[in-house]
Symmetry: C2
Subunit: 196 residues, 2 copies
Amino acid sequence: MSTQEPPGTQERLVRSTQELLWERGYVGTSPKAILERAGVGQGSMYHHFSGKSALALAAIRRTAEELKQASEECLDAPGTAYDRVAAYLLRERQVLRGCPVGRMTQDRDVVQSAELRRPLDEMFDWLRERITEVLTEGQRRGELAAALDPAATAATVAAVVQGGYVLARAADDTAPFDAAVQGVLALLAAQVPAVG
Amino acid sequence: MSTQEPPGTQERLVRSTQELLWERGYVGTSPKAILERAGVGQGSMYHHFSGKSALALAAIRRTAEELKQASEECLDAPGTAYDRVAAYLLRERQVLRGCPVGRMTQDRDVVQSAELRRPLDEMFDWLRERITEVLTEGQRRGELAAALDPAATAATVAAVVQGGYVLARAADDTAPFDAAVQGVLALLAAQVPAVG
DNA sequence: GTCTATAACAAGATAGAC
DNA sequence: GTCTATCTTGTTATAGAC
């Protein structure tokens, strides 16, 4: 397992598609560009996949799964609920590139296809649910005010990250992302009962 | 002023482009689609505008200006700082269509063009600045805790809206948007000093 | 499995008539 | 100012050789 064989043709196609979907979106990504980046001919692509949308589906599923695992590493860490949510909010990101999953929600062809949208839906649904669990657990332990609504707050946390990307890309500067994260962290810190 | 003459060719072109950019983004919008929606021939478009990007620039500027005015109506209203920010967060939106300005930040060709990105930058910069002013004013009046960081909180508020759109479109459901808004409103309400 | 050739159509812009 | 060709290039897919 995980012996480092060089990736096969199919694998290279999926990885190239992941990169291009992140950079250019679904509409902006042509099969030709995928083939050039993967270094394979057109015949190979249509042998392994029925077309652009099938390849995009494989790539989107992969990207969503990778993002889920990276997020779970932060949210599953030891520490208080605040610490774990802070770890998620502060995890290393390529902010100006935007979110590889969130980006897809702005693509008409993706959102209008039930199949292509499903991985996005599942990923964000899982994320909100997982943050809700962490916050609920924090309340049980007395780390967070009982008045806090875990589900609503979880949606806020997820939205701050996705919206932070938008503000940062508009400004061509990561500062608005960092400010938005600091803002929600400060609001959340105020929900932590004072010690003693 | 504002006598209801039917819109001229140039005006129809700009409005059609605004609609299409919102629906399909820059890459997904073809001159042909614009012409068909505006009901004019190709010659008219290239007479009034040098090409697709010039027309997009006019449309983006218009959309940003319209959104700025709609936001200002909420933030300029009478009431406490909390009320005014709440009015902005709760203002009527076509959530599943996404933000017509924020949407553009996911378009490679837009973000990479200094000219096309500028209206987005100015709009969001103004928005954060304006919310910062409202929050600062609230602090001066004793309506909000002095410990609150107005600029960071303003970025959070703007990000929640933009991120809410992303979550809602992923879910094909406005619920995550509403939850994110309710979450940040509750966190903000906790910053309002108790009366008496 | 992988390649090149080719087809059918759309994008984006230009030319020139009216 | 507006219209209809026309041009060049790119997109997406298929065909058939190797």
